[in-house]
Symmetry: C2
Subunit: 356 residues, 2 copies
């Protein structure tokens, strides 16, 4: 198997490139510590639509179209859109893809969806099946709350371990050739005229479902941390890399509690990630924003990767990043039927270097 | 792009092989005209479980494990499982994959899920990212009815255009090498000692979402037929093939009404598929079984392809097949919010010949 390193780590020898990316977040996320990185912050979370579901689909469509514009490509140059979200039957993605009128492959990995879309998109580019692929993911606090928990009007209390589903979408164009992303050159965080680096997807580690028996949907970080740890350990082992190879190892979204559990579990296996490791859910909000354990939702790691990480790679402040999006594969029915919460985590290695 | 023929048609030059397949259906499906082809027919649709959701997940797991056994491979030789279903957050697939403990990529394409899994699995094998992949899809009448329509206890009337969600699962092993499927050699429909052919996936056409504005969820065939027609037309055009190249062109699941609409639309574009074209939904039940327009659900085309079509290809009665699984990308929320029903259709070309 020419492109397979370990059992679950794949290599992309032709280095699919990220040639445009875009992030949109809601009001609350736009008041958090990551605000300066996002391309667009909504003034109000309905985005001018009559329902939150339509608002989420519009956010995702906007992210896709803007990523496309930054890539310098035309819509008819895109071979396939890969996308997913948390809403039943991935409604936000389906209606986004209907409006774009580009061939569509729907995916679902709960909050791991962004890396799942990047893995599948990279295989399509690297394997020679496509020239340009749009990938993305989204979530919305209001659509997720009423589907998975309680109507917002109910105003129920949340325990300290609960996470806050981010209102956020992220999208990017993956491409077989390197033209693109002119818009970032005028990005608000980069000085004019600065030489920017190309960003490539080099490897991916597909996640295995781990279920440690946690049944409390307010303990998602704890439910997902073992899967994140398993994927990180397998990735480093398959790649024969020490953690220091990476400038940043970023999970998404374990939240504050899950991040600490993951660090503990890793240290128990002799792996010290202090100073390298962070979590998109833990980064998204200020403590004073009262989200308890931090952010979650497909859009959380999608929007942070498509803004902060990508921009820092373009300017060379980050040269090697490992993104591990984590998903809690529960549904309201599985919880009601007494099932525990299976966790999954997929990793992608992203680099600014042209050799692997 | 070496592996891309047209805008949406992909070529698999290394010819991923189907080395084992298995189908399970429910009681009602086991009394229909396709009964003799299925590997297993349930005596009752709970499959010994306390809930229908657990029953559906068990059916899918059984199909995966039995396909694996027929392939002659061990579980740890499987690189990834690709699977999806209709239940919110693809619960049947997630819990199946948790129990199998194999790396998992979840997908969602409504009733087009089986071909979506075959396309992604074929890219993983053909692109050199995997040696063996398990793909599959499932549906269950009782889980789908209560999620999408009414509690069964409600006993509501169904209009004549309604389709019946099949209780069915299908799974197969795709492989980079050709050893496998010894079990079929003792299959109930093949004479002992008969020389069997190898079955390959040669091409795939990824579907575009088409929405003609139909809002009635009891008119799914009509909502999906234009997408099926679009995919068939693009496939034949990209491949420069006439319909007669195929021994069978099989959609799934337009049902009786959708099949006739598709034939009409095709004939309006100068394409005559009479005698070649059929639909898995239209084939699944007898008229006297009172399912109105026929079967639907991810498991319908999955189980018919994994039994009848695959077995007829093994014995050489079918040498070239085009399977077009069709999906209606609605959710209960999208219907309640007045949205129309987007349709999608993905096609895979399957052949017994080693050259393409």
């Amino acid at each position: 198997m020419k492109n397979k390193l370990g059992k679950q780590t794949l290599q992309f020898p032709f280095l699919p490139r990220i040639v445009g990316s875009y992030s949109i977040v809601g009001e609350k996320e736009g008041k958090g510590p990551m605000a300066k990185w996002f391309d667009m912050i909504l003034e109000e979370d309905t985005f001018g639509e009559k329902t939150w579901e339509k608002a989420e689909s519009k956010m995702l469509k906007q992210a896709m179209l803007q990523a496309l514009q930054k890539s310098g490509r035309e819509k008819d140059e895109i071979d396939t859109v890969l996308s997913g979200d948390l809403i039943n039957q991935i409604m936000s993605s389906s209606f986004m893809a209907r409006d774009l009128s580009i061939p569509f492959l729907g995916i679902y990995g709960a909050c791991s969806t962004m890396t799942e879309s990047m893995i599948m998109g990279s295989m399509m580019i690297d394997g020679g099946y496509a020239s340009n692929i749009l990938v993305g993911a989204s979530s919305h606090y209001c659509t997720a709350e009423r589907q998975f928990r309680m109507p917002l009007e109910h105003g129920n209390h949340r325990p300290p371990s609960a996470q806050w589903t981010s209102t956020a979408s992220g999208a990017m164009v993956l491409s077989a050739d390197d033209k693109g992303d002119t818009a970032v050159k005028q990005g608000k965080n980069q000085p004019q005229g600065q030489k920017l680096r190309e960003v490539y997807l080099s490897h991916a580690t597909i996640g295995k479902i781990l279920d440690t028996g946690i049944k409390d949907p307010n303990q998602m970080g704890a439910a997902m941390a073992p899967a994140a740890v398993d994927t990180i350990v397998r990735h480093l082992s398959d790649m024969e890399r020490s953690p220091e190879f990476y400038d940043i190892i970023l999970s998404g979204d374990l939240g504050m509690i899950g991040r600490d559990i993951a660090l503990d579990l890793l240290s128990g296996r002799g792996i010290n990630l202090n100073g390298i490791f962070n979590d998109c859910g833990a980064m998204m909000y200020d403590k004073k924003q009262d989200t308890h354990s931090g952010g979650s939702g497909c859009g959380c790691s999608a929007s942070i990767f498509c803004s902060y990480v990508y921009d820092e790679m373009r300017t060379g402040k980050i040269n090697n990043a490992l993104l591990i999006s984590t998903g809690a594969l529960l549904s309201t029915i599985s919880s009601q039927q007494g099932e525990s919460i299976p966790g999954i985590a997929h990793a992608v290695a992203v680099t600014t270097k042209g050799v692997i």
